[in-house]
């Protein structure tokens, strides 16, 4: 979640920034659900190299704190990460390529600062950032907070404080606490509130997942049903012979039940054996996401990847569901062993 001023929420300009006060710091420090936090000053500016210019998003960060919250450091593909008193920049890769600059080259930043003061400066590129999402690679420039504040003539001012809680499940509790304490002109917003589209997307994703799951279960049910129907109809004659020569129908039904159970068990186990390596591969190599969702996730310090869980209970549950389906279907051979007509079975 993030803290910023109400005005900034309405209109994201450098004039709606705030000064980080001790009382604010105390509130944050006293909230036990918050494990990390970092300050940011974020604004637009033109970035120029020798003869190329492009609008970009300048983000002033506390290098150490930012890395704790969003793990920014791991996207550095060339050069070095920033340190606190640095006067350099981290430039996203596509932007760097567009401006035709590399590590060691300089970039001129040119724009408007606090209260309309002109903002300009020349900065060396310390490192290149390569995010997994192309959108992010086009526009971002990171610089240390101090030098950013100087650029925009906004000493000690921030646009936002980013707070991190360890566990997303604690989000609503943390939000309740913080909303009670953060008073006007400040406000606190969770990522869910900041990105309703993302929440919608996640909900849609969950609903889609549920739909797919239901569909799969239906397919599985018919698959197993088909197998069992075939098994019984192909063996009608054999079953008829067994009853004719003296096997009790009850005994036969137990045998068929056990057989169906083993078919289900073999199916479930082989399903696990086949699916586990696949899931494990994607667990080790998460599937990258793109678009706005990816940007929001990076902003929030979440890596923009689709993760594959290898939590055992997911596998157990699926295997168990398949077994349950099989056992429900197993009622068919049981019924059949009680109703099989010998004369027809033996003729067939």
């Amino acid at each position: 979640m993030q803290i910023f001023t109400e005005d900034y929420h309405e209109n994201k300009t450098i004039n709606n920034t705030f000064i980080y006060t001790d009382s604010l710091k105390q509130i944050i420090d006293n909230e036990p659900t918050i494990t990390q936090y970092t300050s940011r000053l974020e604004y637009f500016s033109l970035a120029s190299s020798e003869n190329l210019t492009k609008g970009s998003v300048i983000i002033g960060i506390d290098p150490e704190g930012e890395n704790k919250v969003t793990e920014l450091k791991k996207w550095v593909s060339e050069g070095n990460y920033l340190n606190k008193d640095d006067d350099g920049l981290l430039v996203a890769i596509d932007l760097a390529n567009y401006l035709n600059v590399g590590v060691g080259d300089s970039i001129v930043l040119y724009g408007q600062g606090f209260h309309g003061v002109m903002a300009a400066g020349i900065y060396p590129v310390r490192g290149i950032l390569k995010f997994p999402s192309p959108e992010l690679n086009k526009q971002f420039i990171y610089m240390p907070l101090k030098s950013c504040q100087r650029l925009f003539s906004a000493d000690n001012r921030l646009t936002s404080i980013v707070l991190m809680i360890e566990d997303n499940y604690q989000l609503s509790r943390a939000m309740r606490h913080m909303k009670g304490k953060i008073k006007s002109p400040f406000m606190v917003r969770s990522w869910e509130e900041l990105q309703p589209e993302l929440v919608q997307m996640i909900d849609g994703d969950k609903a889609g997942g549920l739909f797919m799951k239901t569909l799969l279960y239906i397919i599985i049910t018919f698959g197993i049903l088909g197998t069992i129907l075939m098994m019984v109809s192909e063996r009608k004659r054999e079953l008829g012979v067994m009853i004719a020569i003296g096997m009790q129908r009850f005994t036969l039904s137990k045998i068929l039940l056990a057989e169906t159970f083993f078919i289900g068990l073999i199916g479930a186990v082989s399903g696990l054996i086949v699916s586990f390596p696949l899931v494990y591969y994607y667990h080790l190599n998460p599937y990258p996401l793109t678009g706005d969702a990816a940007k929001t996730m990076i902003d929030m310090g979440i890596e923009p990847f689709m993760y594959f869980s290898i939590q055992p209970d997911i596998f157990y549950v699926q295997a168990f569901v398949v077994l349950i389906i099989t056992m429900a279907i197993a009622i068919y051979p049981v019924i059949k062993s009680f109703t099989l007509k010998l004369t027809t079975a033996l003729r067939g």
């Binding site: 003296g246 010998l342 004369t343």
Partner: protein
């Protein structure tokens, strides 16, 4: 001594408007050790008759009394047990259990009867040798010829030491050499164990071996003749 007494046995099928009297009031007795062929044209009611006799198909009316037991008055569980202990079956074809070996097929019915393992092993060997395929004891039915499968079926029918063996067209799917040797075998078994055999058949070679021939037509007995063989 009468093994089987049949009184006024009738089976009526009510299929779409037409009533078919597949078996129409048959009364007949079979004695211990008989070797009988039930013959008649196709659709005359041989299969229906044998099925009612063997406790597989419930008569519309009439009684089947085997060793003093009126079998169609038994509960369905008791009837299955009765079949297990008193009646051997040889069906037209494919009546062995495909996943079991020849030996296991013969042993299966003794297992159902709860016979001890040792007795089962000895009797399985003895019977398979008696029917001439002792060396194929471990073969599955699909690896055996039709004639060999029927021999195993005869061995299985004998395994439970039944009062009598019912065989519906046992030779219908066999070539003439296999037919002759299967008949020879059944006749031997009939003498050796004094087991009563009742066949339904079209096969002239089977009739030539039978010592009693019951001819059925339109669900009724047309003739009942005894022959001296040997």
């Amino acid at each position: 001594m009468n093994v089987i007494e049949i009184k006024n046995l009738t089976k009526i099928y009510n299929s779409s408007e037409v009533q078919v009297k597949a078996v129409n009031g048959i009364s007949i007795d079979f004695k211990e050790g008989e070797f009988t062929a039930v013959v008649g044209p196709s659709g005359s009611g041989k299969t229906t008759f044998l099925n009612m006799l063997g406790g597989l198909d419930r008569p519309t009316s009439g009684d089947v009394i085997i060793g003093g037991v009126n079998i169609w008055q038994l509960s369905s569980r008791k009837l299955i047990d009765f079949r297990k202990n008193n009646i051997g079956f040889v069906f037209q074809s494919y009546n062995l259990i495909p996943v079991l070996t020849a030996g296991e097929n013969v042993e299966f019915i003794m297992q159902l009867q709860g016979k001890p393992r040792k007795e089962r092993d000895i009797r399985t060997k003895e019977l398979l040798e008696a029917v001439g395929i002792g060396e194929r004891i471990k073969a599955r039915p699909s690896k055996l010829s039709g004639g060999q499968q029927q021999r195993v079926a005869v061995a299985r029918a004998l395994a439970s030491k039944p009062e009598f063996i019912l065989a519906d067209e046992p030779t219908a799917n066999l070539d003439s050499t296999s037919t002759t040797s299967l008949l020879e075998l059944m006749s031997q078994m009939n003498k050796k164990y004094n087991t009563t055999f009742i066949f339904a058949t079209h096969d002239q070679r089977v009739m030539d071996k039978a010592r009693r021939i019951v001819t059925i037509e339109d669900g009724k007995i047309l003739s009942d003749e005894y022959f001296d063989r040997d």
